[in-house]
Amino acid sequence: MDDAGVDQGGVSPVRQVIEVVVRALVDQPEAVRVTETERRGLSVLELRTAPGDMGKIIGRQGRTASALRTLVAVTAEKHGTRAQLDIKD
């Protein structure tokens, strides 16, 4: 099964990066949730925050979200994987 390899033990670097950065951006870090699923070699990371914090993650003209996606891509590249960030609102 494609979804079998999820979260066996350690947290992936990409997920760690999202958690560290997003917790620093929001007012309610304890409400930050990141889940990771693997689909055909692509890691799909879903990010949820407190509703009031969503705007901080997106930023003006989506610039914060875009910077977060770049950092995700750079981290995946460093580890020879591919990752995609889905911001859930």
């Binding site: 670097p13 760690q16 990066v17 958690e19 560290v20 950065v21 620093a24 951006l25 901080k56 930023g59 003209q61 610039r63 914060t64 875009s66 910077a67 977060l68 770049t70 950092l71 750079v74 981290t75 590249e77 460093k78 580890h79």
Partner: protein, 149 residues
Amino acid sequence: MSLTSEITEFLQSVVAAMGMDLSPTVEETPDGTRINLEGEDGGVLVRRDGEGLQALQHLTATAFRRQLGDDRRIVIDCNGFRKDKDLELKQMARFNAEKSRSSGMPQEMGPLNPYERRIVHLAIAEDPGATSESVGDAFMKTVIISATK
């Protein structure tokens, strides 16, 4: 804990989460605080014209916006990549000022982001024979350098 050490600690945890081995050096300049991340792992941050470094810069400035306020700047560098680029931009600005004097035609630079435009404006401000002006209404703007008569 000082704001600089708080920011340095944040950067260290991001870099560690990314799985990179980089050590921060802090330098206080008249222009703000410069944190240079040094190490062989830095290549991935400066790839594609420093795209990753730029993202890290934006995320850090956003996370600490409230504490930094309007007048404190933070610049994140990696193996001096940005320092070299800033110097190049400054030289390019001076060259364009000279060119506008010799040709009598205003010279365009850009499109540049706000950080880059600031470097150009500061370089031109040191030159009594030229002025600079940003044009455009987007995030990236063109800077026009003209000789003063």
